[in-house]
Amino acid sequence: MKAKVIITPKPEVLDPQGKTVQTALEHMGCTGVGEVRVGKYIEIEMDGDADTVKAKLSEYADKFLANPNIEDYRLKLED
Protein backbone atom coordinates (compact mmCIF):
# COMPACT_ATOMS: atom_id res chain seq x y z
CA MET A 1 0.00 0.00 0.00
CA LYS A 2 1.01 3.59 -0.38
CA ALA A 3 1.76 5.40 2.83
CA LYS A 4 1.94 9.17 3.06
CA VAL A 5 3.86 11.05 5.68
CA ILE A 6 3.02 14.72 6.09
CA ILE A 7 5.58 16.65 8.08
CA THR A 8 5.00 20.17 9.37
CA PRO A 9 7.00 22.54 11.54
CA LYS A 10 5.80 22.51 15.16
CA PRO A 11 3.53 25.47 15.98
CA GLU A 12 6.18 27.02 18.25
CA VAL A 13 8.90 26.82 15.60
CA LEU A 14 9.39 29.93 13.50
CA ASP A 15 8.81 29.09 9.84
CA PRO A 16 10.46 31.82 7.77
CA GLN A 17 9.69 29.93 4.57
CA GLY A 18 5.97 29.90 5.37
CA LYS A 19 6.09 33.56 6.31
CA THR A 20 7.73 34.43 2.99
CA VAL A 21 5.18 32.43 1.00
CA GLN A 22 2.40 34.20 2.93
CA THR A 23 3.87 37.60 2.06
CA ALA A 24 4.27 36.58 -1.59
CA LEU A 25 0.64 35.47 -1.75
CA GLU A 26 -0.38 38.85 -0.40
CA HIS A 27 1.82 40.53 -3.02
CA MET A 28 0.00 38.48 -5.69
CA GLY A 29 -3.17 40.13 -4.53
CA CYS A 30 -4.56 37.01 -2.86
CA THR A 31 -7.06 37.93 -0.19
CA GLY A 32 -8.07 36.00 2.89
CA VAL A 33 -4.64 34.43 3.33
CA GLY A 34 -3.77 33.59 6.93
CA GLU A 35 -0.68 31.96 8.37
CA VAL A 36 1.24 29.70 5.96
CA ARG A 37 3.39 26.78 7.14
CA VAL A 38 5.66 24.92 4.73
CA GLY A 39 6.42 21.27 5.46
CA LYS A 40 7.33 18.08 3.65
CA TYR A 41 5.40 15.27 2.06
CA ILE A 42 6.81 11.77 1.65
CA GLU A 43 5.24 8.81 -0.15
CA ILE A 44 6.42 5.32 0.76
CA GLU A 45 5.35 1.98 -0.71
CA MET A 46 4.92 -0.46 2.18
CA ASP A 47 4.00 -4.12 2.52
CA GLY A 48 1.63 -5.36 5.24
CA ASP A 49 -1.75 -4.59 6.71
CA ALA A 50 -2.76 -1.11 7.79
CA ASP A 51 -2.02 -1.57 11.50
CA THR A 52 1.44 -3.00 10.87
CA VAL A 53 2.30 -0.31 8.34
CA LYS A 54 1.08 2.42 10.68
CA ALA A 55 3.12 1.05 13.59
CA LYS A 56 6.25 0.70 11.50
CA LEU A 57 5.90 4.12 9.91
CA SER A 58 5.37 5.80 13.26
CA GLU A 59 8.63 4.33 14.42
CA TYR A 60 10.44 5.42 11.24
CA ALA A 61 8.97 8.90 11.50
CA ASP A 62 9.88 9.25 15.19
CA LYS A 63 13.44 8.10 14.58
CA PHE A 64 14.24 9.57 11.20
CA LEU A 65 11.63 10.98 8.82
CA ALA A 66 10.70 13.83 11.17
CA ASN A 67 12.81 15.58 13.79
CA PRO A 68 10.77 15.64 17.03
CA ASN A 69 12.62 18.78 18.15
CA ILE A 70 11.11 20.87 15.39
CA GLU A 71 8.51 18.88 13.45
CA ASP A 72 5.15 17.13 13.83
CA TYR A 73 3.92 14.49 11.41
CA ARG A 74 0.76 12.65 10.46
CA LEU A 75 0.28 9.47 8.47
CA LYS A 76 -2.21 8.58 5.78
CA LEU A 77 -2.59 5.14 4.21
CA GLU A 78 -3.94 4.36 0.78
CA ASP A 79 -4.77 0.89 -0.58
Binding site: P9, E12, L14, P16, Q17, T20, N67, N69, I70
Partner: protein, 235 residues
Protein backbone atom coordinates in the same frame (compact mmCIF):
# COMPACT_ATOMS: atom_id res chain seq x y z
CA UNK B 1 47.82 14.33 20.14
CA UNK B 2 46.00 12.67 17.28
CA UNK B 3 42.98 14.00 15.43
CA UNK B 4 40.51 12.36 13.07
CA UNK B 5 38.48 14.44 10.63
CA UNK B 6 35.39 12.73 9.25
CA UNK B 7 34.61 12.81 5.57
CA UNK B 8 31.10 12.28 4.20
CA UNK B 9 29.98 12.55 0.60
CA UNK B 10 29.44 16.30 0.38
CA UNK B 11 31.81 17.36 3.16
CA UNK B 12 33.81 20.34 1.96
CA UNK B 13 35.64 21.75 4.99
CA UNK B 14 37.46 18.52 5.84
CA UNK B 15 40.72 19.49 4.14
CA UNK B 16 40.72 22.90 5.83
CA UNK B 17 40.47 21.18 9.22
CA UNK B 18 43.28 18.78 8.34
CA UNK B 19 45.44 21.69 7.14
CA UNK B 20 45.00 23.65 10.37
CA UNK B 21 45.52 20.71 12.70
CA UNK B 22 48.41 19.17 10.83
CA UNK B 23 50.26 21.98 9.07
CA UNK B 24 49.50 24.94 11.28
CA UNK B 25 49.36 23.29 14.70
CA UNK B 26 51.57 20.28 13.97
CA UNK B 27 49.40 17.43 15.20
CA UNK B 28 48.97 14.15 13.32
CA UNK B 29 45.58 14.16 11.65
CA UNK B 30 43.88 11.71 9.37
CA UNK B 31 40.74 11.70 7.34
CA UNK B 32 38.15 9.05 8.13
CA UNK B 33 35.76 8.10 5.32
CA UNK B 34 32.12 7.69 6.36
CA UNK B 35 32.21 3.93 5.72
CA UNK B 36 34.88 3.32 8.34
CA UNK B 37 33.47 1.69 11.44
CA UNK B 38 36.57 1.99 13.61
CA UNK B 39 38.11 5.30 14.68
CA UNK B 40 41.45 3.81 15.63
CA UNK B 41 43.92 5.60 17.85
CA UNK B 42 42.57 9.15 18.10
CA UNK B 43 42.26 11.71 20.89
CA UNK B 44 39.66 13.95 19.28
CA UNK B 45 37.24 13.79 16.36
CA UNK B 46 36.22 16.70 14.15
CA UNK B 47 32.97 16.56 12.21
CA UNK B 48 33.58 19.13 9.46
CA UNK B 49 31.31 21.44 7.52
CA UNK B 50 29.79 20.94 4.11
CA UNK B 51 26.59 19.48 2.74
CA UNK B 52 26.78 15.82 3.76
CA UNK B 53 24.53 13.63 1.59
CA UNK B 54 23.33 16.73 -0.24
CA UNK B 55 21.49 17.95 2.87
CA UNK B 56 18.70 15.57 1.84
CA UNK B 57 15.61 15.36 4.08
CA UNK B 58 17.14 17.62 6.77
CA UNK B 59 20.69 18.88 7.16
CA UNK B 60 22.75 16.21 8.93
CA UNK B 61 19.91 13.70 9.07
CA UNK B 62 21.46 11.06 6.80
CA UNK B 63 25.04 11.28 8.03
CA UNK B 64 24.11 10.04 11.44
CA UNK B 65 23.39 6.57 10.04
CA UNK B 66 26.84 6.15 8.54
CA UNK B 67 29.13 3.50 10.07
CA UNK B 68 31.64 6.12 11.20
CA UNK B 69 28.99 7.94 13.23
CA UNK B 70 28.24 4.78 15.23
CA UNK B 71 31.93 4.71 16.15
CA UNK B 72 31.82 8.43 17.01
CA UNK B 73 28.83 7.84 19.32
CA UNK B 74 30.71 5.13 21.19
CA UNK B 75 33.79 7.36 21.37
CA UNK B 76 31.70 10.23 22.75
CA UNK B 77 29.93 7.97 25.25
CA UNK B 78 33.35 7.02 26.61
CA UNK B 79 34.26 10.66 27.07
CA UNK B 80 36.16 11.23 23.80
CA UNK B 81 36.30 14.81 22.53
CA UNK B 82 34.11 15.57 19.51
CA UNK B 83 33.74 18.96 17.81
CA UNK B 84 31.22 19.52 15.04
CA UNK B 85 31.57 22.59 12.85
CA UNK B 86 28.66 23.93 10.76
CA UNK B 87 27.23 20.83 9.04
CA UNK B 88 29.09 18.88 11.74
CA UNK B 89 27.01 20.71 14.38
CA UNK B 90 23.84 19.80 12.45
CA UNK B 91 24.94 16.16 12.28
CA UNK B 92 25.67 15.99 16.04
CA UNK B 93 22.21 17.40 16.80
CA UNK B 94 20.52 14.95 14.46
CA UNK B 95 22.53 12.12 16.00
CA UNK B 96 21.27 13.07 19.44
CA UNK B 97 24.76 13.83 20.73
CA UNK B 98 23.73 17.46 21.21
CA UNK B 99 20.27 18.80 22.10
CA UNK B 100 18.12 20.89 19.76
CA UNK B 101 18.18 21.40 16.01
CA UNK B 102 19.39 23.87 13.39
CA UNK B 103 16.64 25.23 11.18
CA UNK B 104 16.45 27.62 8.23
CA UNK B 105 17.92 31.08 8.87
CA UNK B 106 15.13 33.48 9.71
CA UNK B 107 16.19 35.69 6.77
CA UNK B 108 16.00 32.65 4.44
CA UNK B 109 19.38 33.84 3.14
CA UNK B 110 22.57 31.85 3.06
CA UNK B 111 24.78 34.01 5.29
CA UNK B 112 28.48 34.11 4.45
CA UNK B 113 30.24 36.77 6.52
CA UNK B 114 32.39 37.43 9.56
CA UNK B 115 30.74 37.49 12.97
CA UNK B 116 31.87 38.30 16.47
CA UNK B 117 31.49 35.60 19.08
CA UNK B 118 31.16 36.15 22.79
CA UNK B 119 32.67 33.23 24.69
CA UNK B 120 29.96 32.40 27.21
CA UNK B 121 32.10 30.08 29.32
CA UNK B 122 35.73 29.05 29.49
CA UNK B 123 34.73 25.95 31.38
CA UNK B 124 34.95 23.47 28.50
CA UNK B 125 37.67 21.64 26.57
CA UNK B 126 36.73 23.80 23.58
CA UNK B 127 37.08 27.23 25.18
CA UNK B 128 39.53 26.84 28.06
CA UNK B 129 42.51 28.44 26.29
CA UNK B 130 40.56 31.54 25.23
CA UNK B 131 41.57 34.57 27.30
CA UNK B 132 38.80 35.96 29.47
CA UNK B 133 36.76 38.64 27.73
CA UNK B 134 38.27 37.85 24.33
CA UNK B 135 35.85 38.39 21.48
CA UNK B 136 36.41 36.00 18.56
CA UNK B 137 36.10 37.17 14.97
CA UNK B 138 35.29 34.13 12.84
CA UNK B 139 33.41 33.59 9.57
CA UNK B 140 30.06 31.85 9.18
CA UNK B 141 28.70 30.29 5.97
CA UNK B 142 25.33 28.61 6.32
CA UNK B 143 21.69 28.65 5.31
CA UNK B 144 20.46 26.58 8.23
CA UNK B 145 22.14 27.76 11.40
CA UNK B 146 19.13 28.96 13.33
CA UNK B 147 19.47 27.11 16.63
CA UNK B 148 16.17 25.95 18.11
CA UNK B 149 15.20 23.84 21.11
CA UNK B 150 12.19 23.71 23.42
CA UNK B 151 11.92 25.96 26.47
CA UNK B 152 12.90 23.23 28.94
CA UNK B 153 16.04 22.37 26.95
CA UNK B 154 17.02 26.03 26.70
CA UNK B 155 16.62 26.41 30.43
CA UNK B 156 18.86 23.41 30.98
CA UNK B 157 21.47 24.72 28.51
CA UNK B 158 21.63 27.96 30.47
CA UNK B 159 21.55 26.36 33.92
CA UNK B 160 24.37 23.96 33.07
CA UNK B 161 26.37 26.58 31.17
CA UNK B 162 26.31 24.54 27.98
CA UNK B 163 26.16 27.61 25.75
CA UNK B 164 29.74 28.14 24.56
CA UNK B 165 29.44 30.91 21.97
CA UNK B 166 26.91 33.65 21.25
CA UNK B 167 26.73 36.02 18.30
CA UNK B 168 27.60 39.51 19.49
CA UNK B 169 28.34 42.93 18.07
CA UNK B 170 31.89 44.30 17.93
CA UNK B 171 31.54 45.60 21.48
CA UNK B 172 30.68 42.14 22.73
CA UNK B 173 27.01 42.88 23.33
CA UNK B 174 24.66 40.03 22.51
CA UNK B 175 21.98 41.85 20.52
CA UNK B 176 19.29 40.80 18.08
CA UNK B 177 20.96 42.93 15.41
CA UNK B 178 24.13 40.83 15.75
CA UNK B 179 22.18 37.60 15.34
CA UNK B 180 22.79 36.43 11.74
CA UNK B 181 20.27 33.59 11.64
CA UNK B 182 17.64 33.94 14.36
CA UNK B 183 19.17 31.46 16.82
CA UNK B 184 17.58 31.37 20.27
CA UNK B 185 19.66 33.47 22.67
CA UNK B 186 22.07 34.20 19.78
CA UNK B 187 23.47 30.69 20.24
CA UNK B 188 26.42 29.99 17.94
CA UNK B 189 27.79 26.95 19.77
CA UNK B 190 26.90 24.58 22.61
CA UNK B 191 28.26 21.52 24.37
CA UNK B 192 26.60 18.48 25.93
CA UNK B 193 26.14 18.07 29.69
CA UNK B 194 29.29 15.93 29.95
CA UNK B 195 31.15 18.79 28.15
CA UNK B 196 33.06 16.48 25.79
CA UNK B 197 30.91 17.03 22.69
CA UNK B 198 30.45 20.48 21.16
CA UNK B 199 29.01 21.98 18.02
CA UNK B 200 29.31 25.45 16.50
CA UNK B 201 28.06 27.06 13.30
CA UNK B 202 31.05 29.45 12.74
CA UNK B 203 34.16 28.08 11.04
CA UNK B 204 37.24 28.34 13.30
CA UNK B 205 39.31 26.41 10.72
CA UNK B 206 38.88 29.31 8.30
CA UNK B 207 40.42 31.79 10.71
CA UNK B 208 43.32 29.94 12.25
CA UNK B 209 46.60 31.21 10.85
CA UNK B 210 48.48 34.47 10.89
CA UNK B 211 49.05 34.29 7.11
CA UNK B 212 45.32 34.90 6.67
CA UNK B 213 45.57 37.85 9.00
CA UNK B 214 43.02 36.26 11.30
CA UNK B 215 43.64 33.49 13.77
CA UNK B 216 40.98 33.73 16.48
CA UNK B 217 39.71 30.29 15.47
CA UNK B 218 43.03 28.82 16.46
CA UNK B 219 42.19 29.41 20.12
CA UNK B 220 39.46 26.78 19.90
CA UNK B 221 41.84 24.13 18.56
CA UNK B 222 44.47 25.18 21.10
CA UNK B 223 41.87 24.70 23.84
CA UNK B 224 41.34 21.12 22.68
CA UNK B 225 45.07 20.48 22.57
CA UNK B 226 45.67 22.04 25.99
CA UNK B 227 42.99 19.83 27.45
CA UNK B 228 44.36 16.64 25.99
CA UNK B 229 48.05 17.03 26.59
CA UNK B 230 48.08 16.62 30.37
CA UNK B 231 45.46 13.89 30.44
CA UNK B 232 45.67 10.37 29.00
CA UNK B 233 43.42 9.60 26.06
CA UNK B 234 40.02 8.19 26.94
CA UNK B 235 39.93 4.41 27.17
Amino acid sequence: MKFAVLQFPGSNCDQDCVHVLQNVLGHPTRLLWHKESVLGDVDAVLVPGGFSYGDYLRTGSIARFSPVMQAVKEFADQGGLVLGICNGFQILCEAGLLPGALIRNRSLQFRCEHVYLKVATQDSPFTQAIPEGKLLRIPIAHGEGNYFCDAATLEELEAKEQILFQYADRDGDVTDHANPNGSLKNIAGICNTARNVAGMMPHPERAAEAALNEDDGRLIFESLIAGLNPAPAPA
